[in-house]
């Protein structure tokens, strides 16, 4: 960590495995070690002990990095480039070139909705959501097996956040493995198959969201058109059968869904 500077133990005894084709969430508060874990997977930091492997290759090797597309937490992109130039630069860094690269750039810019004039603007004129989308296109340019997204929706408005979430789901549909970190738990819940929860560099929990979040002793039914008298009768029936009513009432919509529903159609995209 440098002369005269103390060492910080950023991660300790972390043991995790991500399956091919799953969306894996790295959760935890700031300073919990999420970004450090990502940097180790990329080989930008070396663990003091232990090892990380990517598709059977030691993390940090060229073969391992060929399998990964990375989107950093903040848009650390050369802002003198345009959106298309950024993707082209990353494509060339991945060893691509010629018409194959140009075709790939067009495809990706359309996919992240930065086709046409938007892709020809300098990055410094982009909103945070546009930057993240350009970064995603850059991460995907080499057609990697794994996408490593560090806080992909941080600082992005709900509509932009929804777009990124949809993109993650689309990537899963294409068979890609997505590892992403976030402290926005609702968003993780929407897309992740499995999560790991880190705290101060240590693993607290790991598992499938279904297993971690499902209250297996409860059963929930949502109905429409039930009259007050029927409700009373239903409660009586439930008590008679030994069931305890834990919650009851009209369900509430999530604020994000309500907000997005309130926007005009063209603003939602």
């Amino acid at each position: 960590m440098g002369w005269f500077r103390g060492r910080v133990l950023a991660l300790e005894g972390l043991d995790m495995e991500v399956q091919r084709g799953e969306v894996f969430g790295l959760l935890g508060p700031n300073g919990s070690g999420k970004s450090t874990a990502m940097k180790m997977i990329l080989g930008l930091l070396r663990p003091t002990s232990g090892r990380a492997e990517v598709c059977g290759f030691r993390a940090g090797t060229i073969a391992a990095r060929r399998q990964i597309g990375f989107l950093p937490e903040n848009p650390y992109f050369p802002n003198f480039l345009t959106g298309m130039e950024l993707v082209r630069y990353y494509g060339r860094l991945s060893g691509m070139g010629g018409s194959v690269l140009e075709k790939r750039i067009q495809e990706l810019m359309e996919l992240v909705r930065l086709g046409g004039e938007a892709g020809k603007r300098p990055l410094r004129t982009y909103s945070k959501g546009m930057l993240q989308r350009a970064g995603l296109a850059g991460a995907m340019v080499g057609d990697p097996e794994i996408l490593l997204l560090d806080e992909p929706t941080a600082g992005v408005d709900p509509a932009g956040s929804r777009e990124i979430r949809d993109l993650i789901l689309e990537l899963r549909g294409r068979g890609k493995t997505v590892i992403f970190s976030s402290h926005l738990l609702e968003q993780v819940e929407d897309v992740a198959d499995r999560v790991i929860i880190l705290h101060r560099g240590q693993k607290l929990r790991e598992g499938r969201l279904e297993d971690l979040l499902t209250r297996k002793k409860e059963w929930e039914v949502s109905v429409q058109g039930l009259k007050e008298a029927d409700r009373k009768e239903l409660r009586g029936w439930l008590e008679k059968h030994g069931a305890e009513v834990v919650r009851e009432g009209a369900p509430r919509e999530r604020l994000e869904d309500y907000f997005l529903r309130s926007l005009p159609e063209e603003k939602r995209r």
Partner: protein
């Protein structure tokens, strides 16, 4: 191999593009204006003196501008990327770190090459302009006109341009080496300037070492040996002054200095790559 060249050229062209878009070439405009102003300054002197003055001024300006751009540019190459964290998005690609270093360096070297080339063309243009002025004024005698032309169209200036380029390329390589060790731009500039100054005294150190015998103590001898081997000998580029002064410098000597510079650059970039390989980002 093809992939490696493609990656290096991607880093190099991006470095060059960044400098261009940050309007580094605006300094060239200032340079041109200074030169044209200088060309009209000492008109009362003989034409030989006027040409000597113009060449002196031109090459001093090229060296100084190039040194500033090379030093500031090279000291920013790696620390700037680390500070802006753009290095994260580059080094996470299937790219060797040495390819990144070499690409960054080549981008800057091309920038310096283009700058020196453009400035040399400006010097050539001003010399030509002066030639036309003087021939119109004093060249009624064909012998004088021929003498003016000889002074203005001196082919040895090409050697001077080449030497300035390689000298700046060595300075940039020194700065790139230090920038892989440090995170602070100030440190890189200070260390590079120190090497630059020591490099001008290097020949003195080497002579001391070779001729010291029993006069110099063992510790001092070791130190002088280290200086003589590690620091490039910037006195070799004094050939530029010889050319400007009108002295004969054969191409062989120029090419030897170019060869020496290329070897030093290769050694410095190899050392920079080795240091950078082990660095946590």
């Amino acid at each position: 191999m093809m992939g490696s060249l493609r990656r290096i050229s991607a880093v190099a062209s991006n470095t060059f593009l960044e400098a261009v878009r940050q309007k580094v070439f605006a300094v060239l405009l200032v340079f041109g204006l200074v030169l044209i102003y200088g060309a009209n300054y000492f008109t009362e002197f003989s034409f030989q003196e006027q040409f000597k003055f113009l060449k002196d001024l031109g090459y001093a300006a090229i060296s100084l501008t190039g040194l500033l751009v090379g030093l500031l540019g090279a000291s920013q190459l790696i620390p700037g990327e680390i500070e802006r964290r753009t290095i994260l998005t580059a080094l996470c690609r299937p790219l060797h770190r040495w390819e990144f270093i070499v690409g960054k360096y080549l981008g800057l070297a091309v920038l310096l090459g283009v700058m020196v080339g453009v400035m040399a063309l400006a010097v050539g243009g001003v010399l030509g302009w002066k030639e036309a002025q003087l021939v119109a004024r004093e060249g009624s005698d064909p012998a004088v006109a021929a003498a003016i032309q000889k002074e203005a169209r001196d082919p040895r200036l090409l050697q001077a341009v080449l030497l300035v380029e390689v000298k700046l390329a060595v300075v940039a390589a020194v700065a790139v080496f230090f920038s892989t060790v440090a995170t602070s731009t100030t440190f890189v500039i200070a260390m590079t300037l120190m090497v630059y100054l020591i490099g001008h005294l290097q020949s003195v150190a080497r002579e001391q070492w070779l001729e010291s015998g029993e006069v110099v103590q063992a510790g001092a001898k070791l130190f002088l040996a280290a200086v003589a081997f590690l620091v490039p000998d910037f006195n070799l580029y004094n050939l530029i002054d010889e050319i400007i002064a009108g002295n004969e410098v054969v191409w062989r000597s120029t090419l030897e200095v170019v060869g020496y510079s290329v070897v030093y650059i290769a050694v410095l970039l190899t050392a920079a790559s080795v240091v950078f390989e082990g660095r946590d980002i």
